[in-house]
Symmetry: C2
């Protein structure tokens, strides 16, 4: 295992020099103002004041503005008018768009009033490109191999980079991540001695949790080299290396049979063209009493990921609708037992990540640079808003063999004190 | 309201004379035995002994047979070989097929070993015909207007003809039907004073339960004349006529706006070609904080209803997969909050209905005739088996407006003692 991977190309892309554009502070022209006003009206009159390069303010909202959006130059303004998601994201990253006010609230104000027809223009319903084995490895490397030290700055102590489960609204992120692990284990009703395969295991914390608290044997797959190295070190420290095996490989290469299939936060990276293939993998590895859980970011309606996030943060990612997820199960002998939507739990999780990220922005800047800090700040704020406004959902889907009658009789065991 | 509707055409169809066929007890021919053996092998060698008209037994299963299936004549045998579901159902109804052994276990033995490829032949994946307003009324009339006195013989005391919810496996049917009503109300987190529209309200018991225990106002729709008459009488007796309005009309004519949409056991009769239309109805009647619950028999994979049940018991009915159900929600601004599969609760419910039906078979025979008793016995036994073997599922889907953030924080309230 390499402990010093090459600098991920994503970091390189984000930390590079600002592109040279014809953007000295030109005076605004009357047409800029006209076009911006038309754009803001079409976007549902968000309560945001836009400040043109010469300081002139444009506002079409009702009531008090939530914040100001300052454009440093006309090229940046026109980039936003032409391609709002990409233009705003890149302009903000470059420091050519500045925000006066709370970034999360400003992003929320931009999305809140968006009418359905605008949303349909902005959301692109086309399917994303396919994720080959090699392409998947490249995409995962770009995001998850930014360095464990980076993620340690702002994730919880156990390094869980997926939606937490807050049993009560006042729980801390650390408590909620532990509760999430118990929540998914209880949903599967894991029993000591069972064999679990985990597809996309992150830094290995859930795999170790299952082994430690539920007495199961785990084989956990991940194609992120840095995460697998971290996971193996965790297992060795915990004395669980004999009970939990971490494998640096693609989920499509899972072999063997298991009592349970567990996947938390991987489906987003699989791509809808591969759901049936994923279903075939699960079908191959589950016996007649087999069951599984898939936890994934999703959508209420089909749409591609935010264009800027897809380009700069999560290449190859796609959040499916429930209907699309059914392509995993319906071609095979599976039945869905339980679906829970934890959308607002992800809003809380992402908001907490953003707050911790801000507290360590100086350290992130020292690791990368200011452009990287700005890009990730926007990504975390945008994620918070997307869950708050229902542009993203979080689905936990429990499924099992269609004729298996030995599962829990109701879902009450997930909620009893004994279960906690 | 008419209190004496014309005899439903379904009852007429089932109670009519046995069709005249060339079926005096002919000697079996060697080809009969050969074809039957080939058929039984293709069907996965079920542990059933088939007795030909001349008394010869054919058995290809392993171990002890679960029961005997006796064919009275060659025409009946060939009807089964050509169209197993229809042939068996009609033969049993006519008394030309007799069962030695427990009917439920014999039906289970027939379906248990069915291989996927046979299932695909037997299940017909085509969509059923469309249910026009008039066609729907006709289809519903045929099943639900068989007479309240008939259903009173074997349903629970409150006349609930949908899957019960057994909080513990030892609950009675009466307890489980009350628990089911609380379960769906808690899932929607009904609050006093809210307005609920119910689509397909049966005999009105859930509507009255919601009003009595949760303080809501209900407008409940149903196109079964007998059921609506019964429901109105119930409301008057309970002094709830001002709080619960029963309307004899199609769900497509629902007007007004409501806090909640509730539908338990209607979707089976809507048909997949009308799901988007149903979604539009719900979209029209729910405001920004609106939410709803749809409870329906479903499938793990797309398939039409058992051909005999569709022809003789439930004309126009179709159990959807979850993927098909998403056609109700995804075109509109809804998000699915929760899906629960209560398959084995329906097995228990149907088995209990069958036991009660058998206890009152004499009374049913006096109301209709022996053929009717046999047809309904087979339908209830087949339903029990279909849920046991995973050929049918039972989905409760909770959904809400995609941006509504005021719902319950977790699902724990459904399971707390306070909630019970």
């Amino acid at each position: 295992m390499s402990t010093s991977p090459p600098l991920p190309s994503n970091a390189a892309a984000v930390t590079g020099q600002a592109r040279t554009i014809d953007a000295a502070r030109a005076r605004s022209l009357p047409v800029d103002r006209l076009l911006l006003r038309a754009f803001l009206r079409a976007a549902g009159r968000p309560p945001l004041r836009c400040i043109l390069p010469d300081g002139e303010a444009v506002y079409v909202g009702d009531g008090e503005p939530v914040g100001d959006v300052r454009f440093a130059d006309r090229a940046t303004l026109y980039h936003v008018l032409r391609a709002p998601e990409i233009g705003f994201g890149e302009g903000y990253t470059d420091g050519r768009i500045e925000i006066d006010g709370d970034l999360t609230e400003v992003v929320a104000a931009a999305y809140q009033p968006v009418a359905t027809w605008v949303e349909r223009l902005v959301f692109r319903a086309r399917r994303p490109r396919r994720n080959s084995h090699r392409g998947a490895r490249h995409n995962i490397h770009r995001h998850y191999d930014l360095g464990n030290a980076f993620y340690r700055l702002w994730l919880d102590a156990r390094m869980l980079y997926t939606c937490a489960y807050y049993p009560t609204p006042d729980a801390t992120l650390e408590e909620a991540q532990v509760a999430k692990m118990h929540h998914v284990c209880r949903k599967l009703a894991l029993r000591p001695g069972e064999r679990v395969v985990e597809a996309g295991c992150g830094w290995g914390t859930l795999a170790l949790h299952m082994a430690r608290h539920y007495g199961v044997h785990v084989r956990a797959f991940n194609i992120s080299r840095e995460q697998i190295a971290f996971a193996r070190a965790q297992a060795a420290r915990a004395g669980l290396a004999a009970q939990v095996e971490f494998i640096e490989d693609d989920y499509r290469n899972v072999s063997g049979t298991y009592d349970c299939f567990m996947s938390v936060g991987m489906l987003e990276h699989v791509g809808p063209d591969h759901y049936r293939e994923l279903g075939a993998v699960i079908d191959r590895c589950l016996p007649a009493h087999g069951r599984g859980l898939i936890h994934s970011i999703g959508r209420g309606r089909p749409a591609r990921l935010n264009a800027w996030v897809e380009k700069h943060i999560f290449p190859g990612a796609y959040p499916p609708t429930l209907r699309q997820m059914m392509e995993i199960f319906e071609p095979f002998r599976f039945a869905v037992h339980d679906v829970e939507n934890l959308r607002l739990h992800y809003e809380r999780t992402a908001a907490e990540w953003l707050a911790r990220f801000e507290r360590h922005a100086g350290a992130v800047r020292a690791m990368f640079d200011e452009r990287f800090v700005r890009a990730w700040r926007l990504y975390l704020a945008g994620t918070t808003v997307a869950f708050r406004l229902g542009l993203l959902q979080l689905f936990q889907v429990v499924f099992g063999r269609d004729r298996f009658n030995g599962g829990p009789w109701t879902r009450a065991h997930v909620y009893t004190d004994a279960g906690r």
